[in-house]
Structures are given as structure tokens and as C-alpha cells.
């Protein structure tokens, strides 16, 4: 027999069962799709962090900076060069090209160390035009689109550039930013010759800023991506459940074929190789489809992700997706790996089961007692591990570990729980039909349990993440009300205008709250110090979560400062701890306030304390307290009197609205992934039911023959999955709440640095329950219709035909 004939014999199985074939391919494709979609998003984001790292001086090199954060003289650079140091100057600043504001980064390409020269400036000719007047802007494709026509400078487009930033020659930067002879920092190359005079002797006024091991943005967004990856994995696992059960079924159903083939002299090896080849072929096909769908999913989700990253972390990620090999290759790889993992058991069984073992497809999926016990033990171990991690481990990884163990353990436990529940029902019921119903459902459990586990995971994730997001939102909105207490926020354009504004406002409003801040580096973290006046607004509204009784007096007197929650948790600060705020400014922590949505630490000091240390601090922005009904008038007279553009006068309502919008966008992706996962789980259920429905006849025929109408049988068939869905849904509620709790109390604290109170939203459960019900009905519908339309002769064949 030729290989081709053999292959045809094996493949004919799929032709006769297009449904199973569809299930296999769609399961695999969906799993791959969600996985590679998430990978694509992550890859895109990572690439843009790399761009950010290039643009934002995070290339792993140390820098010389001025300790007060200001500029430093170019002469320092020349002096270092002339002493033999391999250093290169950088000047950064914001510059507006027409309506587009860009981060202009001036570099000196001839001295820029190779390891820092991540953007290709082109050949020698391009380089010359980069350094020669008028000069060239190296920008991202997106930025190039925006500023085309807004500048006479030549544009050079580089994929590796960050949106909103431009590389220019140092000389051009100095003239654009009007900072002749000034530098922001001096990059120190790694490659230095020995015997150089130390910096302390050459440029005593400057300090060395060591490079970050990891870029700031990467660090900040790590948790977010971990989140996405976790979701991707979850979805992938759910999809693999489908693949696993379909492959298992197909192998079982083909056992008579295998038997016949082997009787005809086909060796086990040839058979295994053929089957493996078949699987690889499917994996490739499904992988291709999956990657394509994944691309679609990712490009649908990416704008949301970009918005999230922008809103939550200030990281700029383009909203468009590029086909990066790292994710589409990983898509194929995971499709392949998934297929092999899912088929390993079946293949092994094929190798081990004796040649003439009776073909009994109907026992498919019946797990042995021992198997079930192992599963329960594994579940118990996982749950115990989750508890242990909760008690004794910390860190973000541990948080996700807790989540993973909890979810996996609970889902492994599910079949046993359902089976136990059904056994009890069966024992206690006396009616023949109820007994049969329970027994039959229990018998179907192994075939459905993977789909049910998937469903449990998806539902629990839905409940958990939903609870987390809603709790977060509730807290956030309440916090916004406290935090944005001033009715109107204005920003003057210049310091003299600010002086006039203050004088003018003195008589017009209840109080004027200056918003002044400086950038500082505290405990090695870059953060902001805000100065506040002593005002009832703060005393009444500011969202303190811990503090001394007279905290505001202490802040006003300059004796103490407030820190935000994330800084407090990160640094494990306690009230009364000393904090070095600047070179000669130490203060005491007297209170902690919640500061959601801010990735960085923050300190609030009395305004006097701040201005005495930083006399040059900008005093352009103010919060104004007025009666709510006067806001519109005040707004009008502000723009009339000072000609302030609308952007400079923002009222509280608008600000809150904007914050809420950012918040909602932030969790858009989570919501979407949630729905996708649920969809895959529903599909898994549907496919399992469909597959099972092919094997229902031998189960139903005797019952029908004994006098149960087809209608009643159909109703029972409808009821069965509904009962399973419902029980799973009920089981998912406590699991989801546990998940939410871990997210709020463990993962969020590690990832963002804030802890949120948990609220419960039963109404959302009802909604989810209805969605689940609808999905269940849909998933049952097709198998049921097949059953209802069954002719008696079909049922009779069961008794007549040799199967």
C-alpha cells in the first residue's frame, strides 16, 4: 500500500466528519489567534518602548548631568573631550512645529557612542546634511505625517523613532530651543582609554547619573503586559481544550481504521508518522488562519492598548500594527506546540494499546477513577500552593502565581465537584428519568469537562476582572470628586500674566490654589514635588488614607510632607519617616494620600517650603474655588480679561469627564479580551456538545424504545447543558470574587502601588448570567435540532446495525 493510499484512508475520517474537522481547526486557530494577537500587541508596545528608550536616553549609558536638573555648559563637554574622555553632548527640549509639539533631542553624531547610536542616520552624505545647516529632523513615520509642511527642515523617517520625538543635530537643537552653548546632559561612552582624570577634578559641578538597568517605561508597563500575556495564555488554554478533546475523539473513532490498517501490515511507526504529519499539517493551516485572525484582533485592540498605555503610563505606542516576525512566528510555534501537546496522549495511547483492543468510541473521554483522583489531588495541591504564595511570597510574579494556581486548581476541581453533585442528585432522586438524567449527564461529564473547565475559567475571569474594574471605577470616581475639588483650573502663559491673574482673582473668587511643582529625584526615583497653600479645600477634600491628626498644619508649616500611596508602598515608608527631598531639604512624612492613575511617586509640601527651595518654580497654574453657579461667568471674564485660550481654562466637570474617559479607555482592552475568552469558551462548549451529539444515539435509543417521547428526550437534552452551564456559572462566582480579591489586594498593589477596596456588583452577575444563558441556548440549539428532527428509523438502526 502506498503512503498516499494510507493517508487517504486516514484523512477520509475528516471528510466524513466535517464538524469535527471544523472544531479542530477552529479551536486551534482561535487559540493561536488570541495568543498571537496578544503577542502582537506586546511586541508592538515593546518596540515602541525600545524607541522610547532610544529617544529618552535609556540606552544603558551613564550620563553627566547637572545636579539641580538644569542645563549644563557646553564648555564642560569640550573640557572632558580635551581631557581624553569619550563623551557626547545632548540637548533636549520641547519645540512646536506649527501645531505639533515635538520632543527635540539634539545629538552630536560624530562623538555619539556607537551603542547609543540606535537610529541610523544614513550614509556619509546623509550624515553631512544632518550636521550641516539647515539640518534634518529624524522622526517616526507618524510624526513625519504630522509635521510635513510645518517646517522647512528636511525630514528623515526612521521606524525606530518614537512618535512625538525628533533627533536633530545638537547645533540645530541649540538654535531651535534658543539655548546656545547649553546641554541637557553628556553621554559617557563605555569605551574609555585608561588613565583619565576623574570627573570630580574636571567637572566638579556635574554628577554622574547611572543608567537604569531596565527602561522606566518597560518597568512600569511590565505588569500591564504580564496581564495581557496572562489573558492570552488563558484564551490559548481554553482553545487548546477544544483541540485536545477533538483530537482525542478523532483518534478514538479511528481506532477501527488503525486496527484494520495494522492488520494489513502497516507498521506502527508508519502509522504514527502519518498521523503526526497530519497533525502538523493541520497545525500549520490553523496556525496561518490563527495568525491572520490574531492580526485582526490585535489591530482592533491596539488603539485601546495604546490609549491605555498612554493614559496609565504616559508611554507612547502607535495605534497601528506592523507584522513583526517575533509574534507571527510565535503564533505558528504555539499552534504547533499546542497541537503536539494536545495529541501527545492520543499518540501515546495509539502506540501502547494492543492491536486488537475492541474499538469502543463511546467510552471516549471516560476518565478512569484513578485519573479523576489524580486530578483532584493536583487541584488540591494547586490551591494549597496558591494559599502558600498568598501567605509567604510577594512581588508581582507571586501575585500572578497566586492567580494562576487558583484558577487552574479550581478548574481542575470542577469535574469532580459536578460529578459529586450529580451523584448525590442521582442517589436521592427516585424518578427513573431524573436518575437517568443525572447518570447520563455524569457520564457525559468527561467529554464536556474540558469545555466546562474552559467555561469556568472564562466566567471567573469575567467576574473577577469585572469586579476589579468596577471596584476601581467606583473608587476612582469618588477619588476624583475629592481630588478635583476646585471648580475651575486656569493656566497663565507667562509669569507676568500669572502675577496679574493672581491680583485680579483675589477679589473674584473664594480662594486661589496655586499648583506649583518641581521635578525631583527622591530615593532614586524621578517624581514631582507639589506645593500647596493651606486651604480648607485640602483639609476637607484631599483623599488622605493615613496621616497624623494635624497633618495639614504640619504641611503648611513646612514641617512635614505628604506622599502618595504608590511611593509609600514602594518604599515601605511609615508616618514619621525622614525623606531627603533635595540636597539640603529633609522633611518628615506626615500623611499618605491616594493618587490613582499616576505611575510615579509624588510628594506634597507646603508651598512656602517649596518656593524657598526652588525660587524659580513656575507659578502659572491655579485652581479656583468659586460658587458652582459662577463658574461660567468667571470663565467668560477670564478669557475676556486676559485673552486666555480655552485650553488654559478648564472646569472641574470637563476635567473629571476627561479623567473618566481615560479610565474607561484603560480597561477597554481588558473588557474586549474578556469577551473573546468567553466567546472561545462558549465555542468550546458548543463544539463539545456537537461532538457528543454524534454519539448520543446509543444512549437515547433504548430510553426512547422504552417509551419516552422524542420531545421529552429533546427537552432533557436541552436541560442537560443548561444545568451544566448554570452550575459552572454558580461555581464561577466565588472563584471570580477570589480572583478579584487577588487582583485588588495583591496584583494591583504590586503593579501600580495602590490598594483598592472591593465592591460587589450582583447586577453585573445577572447580566453575565443572561449572556451565559443565551450562549448556552445557542450552543445547544444546533445539536438539539438534529435530535428533534431524528426519524424513528435512525433510532431503530441502533438496535439493528452492527456498530
Amino acid at each position: 500500500m502506498t503512503t498516499w493510499t494510507l493517508a487517504t484512508a486516514l484523512l477520509s475520517h475528516w471528510r466524513r466528519r466535517p464538524l469535527q474537522f471544523g472544531a479542530l481547526l477552529s479551536g486551534l486557530a482561535l487559540a493561536t489567534a488570541l495568543w498571537s494577537g496578544v503577542q502582537a500587541i506586546n511586541a508592538e508596545a515593546r518596540a515602541s518602548y525600545a524607541r522610547a528608550a532610544i529617544a529618552l536616553d535609556q540606552n544603558g549609558l551613564a550620563n553627566l548631568v547637572s545636579p539641580n536638573g538644569g542645563s549644563l555648559p557646553q564648555s564642560a563637554f569640550v573640557r572632558l573631550r580635551r581631557s581624553g574622555w569619550n563623551v557626547s553632548p545632548v540637548l533636549e527640549g520641547d519645540y512646536r512645529f506649527g501645531t505639533t509639539r515635538l520632543r527635540v533631542i539634539g545629538i552630536e553624531p560624530l562623538t555619539m557612542p556607537a551603542e547609543a547610536q540606535t537610529v541610523d542616520l544614513g550614509n556619509a552624505g546623509d550624515l553631512l546634511s544632518f550636521i550641516s545647516p539647515p539640518g534634518t529632523l529624524v522622526v517616526s513615520p507618524g510624526t513625519a505625517e504630522k509635521i510635513r509642511g510645518q517646517t522647512d527642515l528636511a525630514l528623515r523617517v526612521s521606524d525606530r523613532m518614537l512618535d512625538g520625538a525628533a533627533f536633530v543635530d545638537i547645533g540645530l537643537a541649540q538654535s531651535l530651543l534658543r539655548r546656545d552653548g547649553e546641554l541637557s546632559r553628556i553621554v559617557i561612552a563605555e569605551n574609555q582609554r585608561p588613565g583619565l582624570e576623574p570627573f570630580g577634578a574636571l567637572v566638579p559641578a556635574l554628577t554622574v547619573r547611572e543608567p537604569n538597568a531596565q527602561t522606566d517605561i518597560e518597568q512600569l508597563t511590565e505588569s500591564f503586559h504580564l496581564n495581557l500575556t496572562a489573558f492570552g495564555l488563558l484564551a490559548f488554554a481554553v482553545g487548546l481544550f477544544i483541540v485536545y478533546s477533538t483530537i482525542g475523539l478523532a483518534f478514538e473513532q479511528r481506532r477501527p481504521t488503525f486496527r484494520t490498517l495494522r492488520c494489513l501490515g502497516v507498521s506502527l511507526r508508519v502509522l504514527a508518522v502519518l498521523l503526526l504529519a497530519e497533525l502538523v499539517l493541520f497545525a500549520l493551516a490553523a496556525g496561518a488562519v490563527g495568525v491572520a485572525i490574531g492580526y485582526l484582533v490585535a489591530s482592533l485592540l491596539l488603539p485601546g492598548v495604546a490609549a491605555t498605555l498612554e493614559g496609565l503610563y504616559g508611554a507612547s505606542v502607535p495605534g497601528t500594527l506592523s507584522l513583526r516576525p517575533e509574534w507571527w512566528l510565535s503564533g505558528f510555534a504555539i499552534a504547533m506546540a499546542g497541537t503536539l501537546v494536545s495529541s501527545a496522549q492520543s499518540l501515546l495511547r495509539l502506540m501502547r494499546v494492543p492491536l486488537l483492543a475492541v474499538a469502543q468510541p463511546q467510552v471516549w473521554g471516560r476518565s478512569s477513577q484513578a485519573g479523576r483522583r489524580i486530578q483532584v489531588l493536583a487541584a488540591a495541591a494547586l490551591l494549597a500552593l496558591s494559599g502558600a504564595l498568598l501567605l509567604w511570597a510577594d512581588g508581582l510574579q507571586a501575585g500572578f502565581g497566586i492567580l494562576g494556581c487558583l484558577l487552574l486548581g479550581a478548574s481542575l476541581l470542577l469535574p469532580a465537584v459536578l460529578s459529586g453533585f450529580l451523584t448525590v442528585m442521582q442517589r436521592t432522586s427516585s424518578g427513573a428519568l431524573v436518575t437517568w438524567f443525572c447518570a447520563d449527564t455524569r457520564q457525559q461529564l468527561p467529554g464536556l469537562s474540558l469545555a466546562l473547565m474552559a467555561l469556568l475559567l472564562a466566567l471567573a475571569a469575567n467576574v473577577g476582572v469585572g469586579t476589579m474594574v468596577s471596584s476601581f471605577r467606583l473608587t476612582f470616581v469618588g477619588w476624583l470628586d475629592q481630588r478635583l475639588a476646585a471648580e475651575l483650573y486656569v493656566a497663565a502663559r507667562t509669569e507676568p500674566e500669572a502675577d496679574r491673574l493672581r491680583a485680579w482673582l483675589a477679589t473674584k473668587v473664594e480662594s486661589v490654589l496655586p499648583i506649583s511643582s518641581v521635578d525631583a529625584e527622591i530615593r532614586g526615583q524621578s517624581m514631582q514635588i507639589f506645593g500647596v497653600v493651606d486651604d480648607p479645600t485640602y483639609r476637607k477634600h484631599w483623599p488622605l488614607i493615613a496621616g497624623l491628626p494635624d497633618v495639614w498644619d504640619r504641611v503648611a508649616s513646612g514641617e512635614g510632607v505628604l506622599v502618595n500611596e504608590q511611593f509609600w508602598r514602594r518604599e515601605r515608608l511609615r508616618i514619621g519617616d525622614q525623606l531627603d527631598l533635595a540636597n539640603d531639604w529633609k522633611s518628615t512624612v506626615v500623611g499618605v494620600y491616594s493618587d490613582y492613575g499616576n505611575p510615579k511617586g509624588q510628594v506634597i509640601a507646603g508651598i512656602n517650603a517649596l518656593t524657598s527651595r526652588y525660587p524659580q518654580v513656575s507659578r502659572l497654574r491655579y485652581g479656583l474655588r468659586v460658587q458652582p453657579d459662577q463658574v461660567a461667568d468667571l470663565r467668560a471674564s477670564l478669557s475676556g480679561e486676559f485673552g486666555l485660550p480655552p485650553d488654559n481654562i478648564v472646569d472641574q466637570a470637563a476635567l473629571k469627564e476627561q479623567s473618566r474617559r481615560i479610565f474607561d479607555r484603560t480597561f477597554l482592552v481588558t473588557g474586549a479580551l474578556n469577551i473573546f475568552t468567553l466567546g472561545v469558551a462558549a465555542l468550546a462548549m458548543f463544539l463539545s456538545l456537537l461532538t457528543l451529539s454524534e454519539m448520543r444515539l446509543p444512549q437515547l435509543a433504548p430510553v426512547w424504545a422504552m417509551g419516552v417521547t422524542r420531545r421529552d428526550l429533546a427537552l432533557l437534552e436541552l436541560l442537560r447543558p443548561l444545568v451544566l452551564w448554570l452550575t459552572t456559572f454558580i461555581a464561577a462566582l466565588p472563584l471570580g470574587l477570589a480572583l478579584a480579591w487577588v487582583l485588588l489586594a495583591v496584583v494591583n498593589v504590586e503593579a501600580f502601588g495602590w490598594r483598592l477596596p472591593m465592591h460587589i456588583f450582583p447586577y453585573e452577575w445577572v447580566r453575565l448570567g443572561l449572556v451565559v444563558l443565551a450562549a448556552a441556548v445557542v450552543s445547544v440549539f444546533i445539536p438539539l435540532r438534529r435530535l428533534a428532527g431524528l426519524a424513528p428509523s435512525e433510532l431503530l438502526k441502533v438496535f439493528a446495525s452492527e456498530r
Binding site: 563637554f77 569640550v78 573631550r81 550636521i131 543635530d169 552653548g181
Partner: protein
Amino acid sequence: MASLSGSQAASEGFAGLGSAAEGFSVPQPGLPFRFPADHGPHTDFRIEWWYLTANLEAPDGTQYGAQWTLFRSALAPREANGWSSPQLWMGHAAVTTSGDHFVAERISRGGVGQAGVVAEPFSAWIDDWQMKGLAAPGSDQLAELNVTAAAKDFSYELRLSATGPLVPHGDNGYSVKSAKGQASYYYSQPFYAVTGSLALPTGNVAVTGKAWLDREWSSQPLAEDQTGWDWFSLHLDTGEKLMGFRLRDAGEGFTSATWITAEGRPEPLPAGTLQIVPVRTAKVAGRRIPVAWNVRIPSRGFDVTTRPLNDQAWMATSTPYWEGPISFGGNVGGRGYLEMTGY
């Protein structure tokens, strides 16, 4: 960085030296040098160099060569303060031993003080490399020099003292480079006595010897079809010096030479008088390079064969070339330097 001025050697001659001189000044015959001003940069010319080569010897007789060069290359015929200066500077430093050849390169923009040349008090520098005049104001600024260079694997400090006068080449410093009339301004100080020290990976060595400084500037010293040159500076045991070069083209090439008497009087030799013929080639940096030459001036009965101290004196810089110390023998002996470009 590939190269400051492009390396399309074939089409524009070596290192772009054959490109047209748009807007730049062009050397004219009959204009005498004015010192010390001419020691400084001529920013209206496209290219310029301060080129020092030294044949050195340790107390135990070990031979060394040292090179210190500062190139100026202008993108536009002007100078400006700050980063908008169109002047680019490039420094090459090398030490050659019989077994090693150490090379370093520095590149810098003009206008900010990272590199430059001041005529009086004389100073030429790029980063921490420097050629500093020690002579009193008003006297010959190149008579006493302190030269330093340092890189990862070597450094040196040389003290130079001129024992003879500055020597103009060609027609009073107007040095013709091709039959088509390309020319440069060219003078030398070939009479330095050197003391100093080399710091090499193997340790420090005190050295003495002879050095030769070339000063040359131009805007288009090569004709378009000239692809490179072979240039010799020879200290004859008789105290006489010989500067000679051949510019290669598709045909015979263009040779020129200056015979310098022991007193420092230049005797420019007519084009074609110098005859050079390779006698041995070596595989250097993947190419065949003639490292030993027969150099003849038949009218003077001068006939020597040169030998390099190190075949592999390859300057692996952004514009690579061969530059190394040589010794020669024949009807007169001596030492010198050989530079070969465009191979």
C-alpha cells in the same frame, strides 16, 4: 561613521580629494607663505593637514615609527562659531614597531573648541591629542613642539626641536599635483630632532630620532583620474632630505620631488625626474600592497631600495591607507616614511 567626506575613491580620487572646488579657494603660484599665519588653518580651502612622521630608536637600537596627523576638511569655505561651523577635523595617531602597528582615530566638529589649530602661540589639537608650540612669540612657531597622543592601547609624548629651516616645495610652496595643473600649498619642517617616550602594551620606551612635519592645504589636489599616491620622506645619512611622490592614474602617473640640502635649501626636481618601482608586495588588510620600492633619481645618481619596518603598517581608519617607517640602502642609506593611499 563611514567617512567624513565619502569614500567613493574610484570616481572622485582618494578620499574625495579629486572633487571639484566649488566656492573654495584654489592655490595660486607666486604667493609667498606668511608665517606664523600660514601655520594656522586656511578655512577657505577644502582640505588641509598637519602631518608629522617620526623615525625613532630606543637605547637598545629597536626601531619605531610614530605618526601624528590632524586633517581639516571643510564642508563650506568659511568658519563659524559653534556647532554650525562647517569645519570637520580628523586626527590619526600611530606607533609602528617591527611586530605591531597601533592606530587610533579621532573625529570632531569645529567651532566649539573640541578640535582646531591656532597659529600663534602654535597649537593643533583634537580631543586630548595635541601638537603644541613651545617657541616664544615672534620666533618660528614650529621650531619647538610638544606632541602627544593617547588611545586605549598606546600613547606617546614627543619633544621636537628643529635643527634646520622650514622648506617650501614646488614653486616656492606651490606644489603641482598633476599634468592638468592641480596643485596645493606645501611646506615642510624635515629637520626635527626628537626625544620622547612611547607607552605601549609591552611597557614604556624612551626614544630619540628624527621627525618630519608636512603642512599642505588645497581644495582639489588630485585630478579626477588620479586614484592615490605613493609618497616618500627620506632622511639621508648625509644629512640631506628627499621628499618625493607619485600620483597614480590610469597611465604613467605623475611624479614630483624636492631635494633638500643638509642646510635646508630646497631643489625642486622637474616632474618625472623621480622614478619609483615596486620591488616587493605584501598582503595587507586583504589587498596587495607594494611595501618595498626602488627609488631613483638618475640625474643625481640616487638609487636606493626601501624596506618597511613593518609590512602591516595599515592605517585602519575611516579612510584607510598605508603609512609606516622605512629604511633604505643603495648608494646612500637612511630612514624615512612611506605613505601609500588608494590601494
